[in-house]
């Protein structure tokens, strides 16, 4: 989804007069007070009546450049389920190593309600009920709950925030989990600074004006004009999350600002922040915790020699190095594109973020003489990257790209169970930017040939006592094998895993088990069970019905909505195959074979297929469910839903055996 719209900040100078201003605080109309529901969304428990924000870059009292941000909102609350809008947490960040928190002041709040006699009243937020909470070294909150909430009340609050982190200009989210009647953001940016603004989501601005504010900024002897930009949106629907979607960031209507360049007002030095990829390449190369770490090859020389000893071809060297790095680190579950404290410290601590681990991997592979690049990407949770122009802050993850001949492999060493060349689901998100110390960077598609694949092969014999005995072989292939290994490793031993499996299946007894390739990460994981199942109490009736989907039957459609707003995103294709051979007792024949199915999604998007082959005293039944795409668009959604409907229907049908 490329709905990113570029709003140019080049001013014609003839912009309409922007008459944005905050709405008055402390007043309420009769209409707002008496509102019973929100006509445009009658399911809303609350609606934002008005919302206004303003951000301006200016000098602080301490002569430091800061962003001065103001927020003001008025919300109608219809019922108790909207009360959580009256509990507010204002986050403040400290993006420094020291104690440079953003500061908040002037929190005021008011609740308007009708008292027990139906008279309009209001009550103010008391400052003693505002609680500052230091959450961690880098995050604190101001928490407060507006007083006097009751059904039908209106709350209003505002505050000011001062941030020393002007390069991290405040994003404005037009959309939230409740609808909004109107939301407006006013931005003042002195000409010393240039930002790129981008609008995300499907919704359109109903107001967008730009004008020049003369001589609005001065620092020392320098002064300049400002761009005064106003963005407004009317009738904003609530954002409702759907199942199987990626980050809401990809779809939520919001406006982001990315610093392009700035001029130091005191010295006149112009600094390009992000302008073109070559600038970013240069900046990354120079960055101590990125390019700086990629130059630390020395750290790995002695470590890698024994790892690759005896390995002659490039691929086996690479695999050895990959396994070595996987085993050398424990991922601390933090993500980012920069090493936290340098690779040397991370290596000593055996712990680090993705960058510590994968920059180590790039270095180690390079030291082993392999052509390796670094790929910057954004995880699924973090949203899709903007490919129109460079936005370095969009990226939050780093992996390695190894090139051998004309083949390349994407590698992530944060998880010791990942096979060579397989990426974790979190990384499969549109595009990544490939970076190396000596070449310009470029985009690459992160869609990997990896798949989730299961095959089940069963060979069963129905016995005279009504029990079914036989073997079940299950191969978990590709990403499915990784997931299965993770599941098995949650147990202290394979025996405990099998015991657990056995205990979960009431009618099935595992007589013998064998699990192969548990530690051979690149091979399919094989589970082989000899089992006995109680299918019938006893075989004495003339006819027996048998559902061949007994192993894993789908009863309900995972897709319930009539239509979707956002695509279904599974991350990768999948395929399940099931082949059952059933041997019958001599005195039985098959009365009714199953009806065969062959249904496909349009444009080879997937299929459901069943097969049946009778033989003497036995039959083979097979089925295949295949989804060939990672992402299904909203247009494809009805077909996907219907395919599931057909699967469910056909899985109800039974095969009937009859006594001769």
């Amino acid at each position: 989804m490329k709905k990113t719209l570029l709003i140019l900040l080049i001013l014609s100078g003839l912009g309409k007069l922007a008459v944005a201003q905050d709405f008055p605080y402390g007043t309420i109309t009769e209409e707002e007070m008496n509102m019973k529901k929100y006509d445009k969304d009658t399911s809303a428990h609350a609606v934002v009546l008005q919302e206004y924000g303003k951000a301006r870059i200016n000098l602080g009292n301490d002569d430091n450049i800061k962003v001065f941000y103001e927020y003001h909102v008025k919300i109608k609350i219809f019922d108790a389920k909207g009360f959580d809008n009256g509990t507010v947490k204002i986050p403040v960040y400290n993006n420094s190593d020291g104690d440079r928190y953003e500061s908040v002041e002037g929190i005021t709040g008011i609740t308007y309600y009708k008292d027990d006699n139906g008279n309009a009243q209001s009550v103010n937020l008391e400052s003693k009920t505002i609680y500052p909470v230091k959450e961690s070294k880098h995050l604190a909150y101001y928490n407060f709950a507006l007083p006097g909430l009751r059904n039908g009340c209106v709350i209003e609050y505002k505050y000011k925030l001062e941030s020393p982190y002007w390069w991290d200009f405040q994003t404005w989210k037009f959309q939230s989990d409740i609808p909004k009647v109107y939301s407006e953001y006013e931005v003042h940016i002195p000409a010393f600074w240039v930002f790129n603004a981008s609008l995300k989501g499907f919704l359109k601005l109903t107001r967008s004006t730009a004008e020049i504010e003369r001589q609005c900024f001065s620092a020392g002897s320098a002064s300049c004009d400002c761009s005064q930009l106003v963005y407004g949106m009317k009738d904003i629907p609530a954002f409702v999350e759907e199942d199987y979607m990626t980050s809401e960031k990809n779809f939520l209507s919001a406006i982001n600002f990315e610093l392009s360049d700035y001029t130091n007002p005191y010295t006149g030095t112009k600094t390009k922040w992000t302008k073109e990829w070559k600038d970013i390449d240069y900046q990354l190369k120079d960055e101590f915790n990125f390019g700086g770490q990629l130059k630390k090859k020395g750290l790995f020389k002695d470590r890698i020699v024994p790892v690759t000893a005896g390995k002659t071809d490039e691929l086996s060297k690479a695999k050895a190095v990959y396994a070595y790095i996987q085993k050398s680190f424990k991922w601390n579950e933090y993500t980012g594109i920069y090493s936290a404290d340098g690779l040397s410290k991370a290596l000593d601590a055996h712990s680090g973020n993705d960058a510590d681990i994968n920059l180590s991997l790039v270095n180690a592979l390079t030291v082993a003489g392999l052509n390796t690049e670094t790929v910057l990407l954004s995880t699924r949770e973090n949203g899709i990257v903007n490919t129109l122009y460079p936005v370095i802050s969009d990226f939050n993850y780093v992996i390695a790209k190894l090139n051998i001949g004309d083949k390349s492999y994407l590698l992530d060493a944060t998880d010791p169970l990942l096979p060579f060349g397989t990426l974790p689901l979190r990384c499969l998100n549109d595009k990544g930017r490939v970076f190396s110390l000596d070449k310009p960077s470029y985009w690459m598609d992160l869609n990997q040939p990896q798949k989730e694949k299961n095959t089940y092969t069963l060979d069963f014999t129905l016995q005279d006592d009504g029990k079914v005995k036989g073997t079940l072989v299950h191969y978990s292939i590709g990403y499915e094998a990784y997931k299965k290994r993770k599941k098995i490793k949650k147990f202290n031993s394979v025996d405990e895993y099998v015991e657990d499996l056995n205990e979960k299946m009431q009618k099935t007894k595992i007589l013998k088990s064998e699990i192969n390739n548990l530690d051979s990460l690149e091979l399919p994981l094989e589970e082989r069970y000899e089992i006995e199942m109680n299918l019938y109490d006893k075989v004495n009736s003339n006819r027996l019905s048998f559902n061949p989907f007994f192993l894993d039957k789908t009863d309900t459609n995972p897709f319930k909505l009539t239509e979707r707003l956002y695509p279904v995103d599974w991350g990768m294709p999948s395929e399940d195959t099931f082949i059952l051979t059933m041997h019958l007792p001599a005195n039985y024949t098959i009365e009714a074979p199953p009806q065969l199915m062959n249904i496909s999604l349009p444009i080879n998007g997937g299929k459901f297929l069943t097969g049946y082959e009778p033989a003497d005293k036995s039959f083979t039944f097979s089925n295949l469910i295949q989804f060939n795409k990672s992402v299904y668009s909203t247009q494809e959604y009805p077909y996907l839903k219907e395919l599931y409907n057909k699967i469910i229907q056909s899985e109800k049908a039974e095969i009937v055996f009859k006594k001769k």
Partner: protein, 636 residues
């Protein structure tokens, strides 16, 4: 030269002390390894009461982590606040062979707000640390000391840690001056206490546990305190946030709570008192008066938790709740009491241990500060009524399954007393469903279905209240596993009387409900109330079977099916009768009317551990019956 010698001397002692313990992982007794991902090698907890405002709590522990699943046991978390101060913390990491590989101290810990996920504010913070070790097994040994500026909530001893951890040795020592009286309670302790006097002249009580195997998760287990070892200690004289007190029985403890924490916090503004008098002036029956006041409180307030200092156990002033319209459970009960007092209705502030999974009461034989929730009791003559003040929707007198059927401490001006909250019985907890459907030639299902919820199930649909139809439909599609369900109309009625009930009526349609294959119809007999999986089996079960709450389900569904068909298989006919439950399910076809009846009853109580397999079999029969597929074949 002298100082150096002293230093050396001290150093030598330290080394010796450290060297005494060998944390080589291979020394762990083999019988402790099954189901263990970590093993506590040695844990020593000591509690020393030095004064009423000064308790020293010292913990020293060495735990060996056998594989990745045990990493959580190496994670150290220490809660602290102004009255629970960390004096020091330090530790060492050893490799598989017991060789030291790393050291850590307080500066390696992160400090975060101990936010519980729902409070607006809490002043408790947590220091935490995880070692990063990639080679298993490894051992982490650490110790820390806390100073507790109180003696009311003295630390208990729970030597059995989480599931998956075995214990080689764990000891607990409590010491105090000879004149500091305590009572203690041993739960499932095999080696009894050793009482002696130490060198400093303090009384000491020591307990020890050895070679405890890792426990496995066994479904339907009783409350853990009923079968795991623990020791509780309660003081006689104590101080809490500077407030002194003394108790040896529930009466004295309840009186202290009432006098010191609640009594003077129930003053209301005159206009609120007037308003309350006004809205109740036409009601004569005190119970109905109280109902009116409770409903007023529900309408006016909502739940917000703020836990600050002694406010952790003391309610907000009633006047503050009156102004802010919010408070936590204590504050809202205290406020409601104040409102009731305005019309001279007596009520009790009751401390309860809340929870749905188990019903845990205050033990009559061991008065101690326990409980995590406050509810309201109204002692009407021959009609004791209970209420939870944190709900905006419960009918007056309805407690629900969070606080039902357990012993609570009522704190009154005359002293504390133990009372028991009402029980929702197997018969009370009812879900009764009636439906009448038509399945047409195309396999489409249509008709209406009506379900009544009572007892502890009364509030099962509360989350649908206040939602618009579109939202309700989305939510119900997740409740009913009825494929292609299209809800045409939905009605939810609540009877908020003293025997409350909720009635849900749905008109629905589901295309392709029955699939037509080779001239046969197949469909699920039980459309709305299937149990999909029985509980897991447990080999070598240790615990007895405990069913916390009974319930009854009645389903009666009629289907009109296309005429001229007969059943292909034997019709469903199941009847099981066990001490812990009953189940019947029948299917009859008369003409083109198919009648399905299902009756499931689960009876609460404790049963022997051998009953467990019976319970699994019982549920498997229910699962089989619930998944019965009707197949209809055309008459010849």
């Amino acid at each position: 030269m002298r100082p150096i010698i002293i230093t050396f001397f001290l150093f030598a002692i330290c080394t010796l002390a450290e060297a005494q313990q060998n944390f080589d992982a291979s020394l762990i007794p083999k019988e402790l390894l099954p189901y263990a991902s970590s093993v506590v090698r040695d844990k020593e907890e000591t509690v020393e009461v030095q004064g009423l405002d000064n308790t020293i709590y010292h913990i020293k522990e060495a735990v060996t982590i056998l594989n990745k699943n045990g990493d959580d046991q190496a994670h150290i978390e220490i809660e602290h606040d102004k009255s629970r101060v960390i004096k020091y913390v330090k530790g060492v990491v050893y490799n598989e062979f017991g060789k030291q590989t790393a050291k850590f101290s307080e500066s390696d810990f992160d400090d975060n707000s101990a936010w519980d996920g729902f409070s607006l504010f809490t002043d408790t913070r947590v220091k935490h640390y995880s070692p990063s070790v990639i080679q298993y097994p490894y051992t982490i040994a650490y110790e820390y000391e806390l100073r507790l500026k109180q003696t009311l909530g003295l630390p208990d001893w729970d030597p059995t840690p989480e599931i998956g951890t075995a214990v080689e040795k764990s000891t607990f020592t409590f010491s105090c001056k000879p004149d500091f009286n305590i009572r203690y309670k041993e739960n499932n302790i095999t080696s009894k206490v050793t009482i002696s006097k130490n060198l400093a002249g303090l009384k000491t009580f020591t307990w020890q546990a050895e070679n405890l195997k890792a426990i496995k998760n066994e479904p339907y287990s009783p409350y853990s305190k009923n079968y795991l070892s623990s020791v509780q200690i309660a003081p006689q004289n104590f101080s809490y946030y500077g407030i002194g007190g003394s108790f040896t029985n529930w009466s004295e403890l309840g009186k202290w709570i009432y006098d010191k924490l609640v009594a003077d916090r129930q003053v209301l503004p005159a206009e609120t008192i007037e308003h309350i008098k006004d809205i109740t002036k036409d009601i004569a029956d005190p119970k109905l008066k109280a109902k009116k006041i409770y409903e007023y409180m529900q309408y006016k307030t909502h739940y917000i938790s703020v836990q600050l200092g002694i406010g952790g156990i003391q309610p907000f002033l009633a006047a503050d709740v009156d102004k802010q319209n919010y408070g936590d459970c204590k504050a809202l009960v205290n406020y409601t009491q104040a409102l009731l007092k305005a019309v001279n209705i007596d009520s009790y502030y009751c401390v309860v241990k809340s929870g749905r999974a188990f019903k845990v009461g205050m033990p009559a034989d061991f008065p101690d500060v326990e409980g995590d929730h406050i509810i309201l009791c109204l002692p009407f003559k021959n009609d004791t009524t209970w209420a939870d003040c944190t709900s905006q929707t419960n009918p007056f007198g309805y407690l629900g399954d969070f606080t039902d059927d357990r012993t609570v401490l009522a704190c009154t001006p005359e002293g504390g007393k133990l009372m028991h909250t009402p029980k929702y019985t197997t018969e009370n907890n009812l879900q009764s469903r009636k439906a009448s459907f038509v399945i047409n030639e195309a396999g489409e299902l249509s008709g209406s279905m009506s379900t009544i919820f009572k007892g502890a199930e009364y509030d099962d649909r509360d989350y649908l209240l206040d939602e618009a139809k579109t939202e309700r439909v989305k939510m119900l599609q997740k409740v009913y596993a009825l494929n292609n369900m299209d809800i045409e109309s939905l009605d939810l009625k609540q009877d908020k009387s003293f025997d409350p009930s909720t009635t849900e009526t749905i008109k629905l349609r589901a295309r392709d409900y029955a699939s037509l294959t080779d001239g046969k119809y197949y469909f699920m007999l039980n459309p709305a109330n299937r149990i999909e999986e029985p509980p897991r089996q447990v080999r070598n079960r240790l615990n007895s079977v405990y069913i916390n709450r009974g319930h009854t389900q009645l389903d009666e569904i009629t289907y009109s099916v296309p005429a001229g068909y007969h059943l292909e298989k034997e019709p469903l006919n199941v009847a099981i009768d066990k001490p812990f439950g009953k189940f019947t399910a029948t299917l009859t076809l008369t003409g083109n009317k198919l009648l399905y009846k299902r009756h499931l009853q689960i009876i609460d109580g404790s049963y022997s551990k051998d009953t467990y397999q019976d319970l699994v079999d019982f549920y498997q029969s229910v699962v089989d019956a619930d998944n019965y597929t009707v197949s209809l074949v055309k008459n010849p």
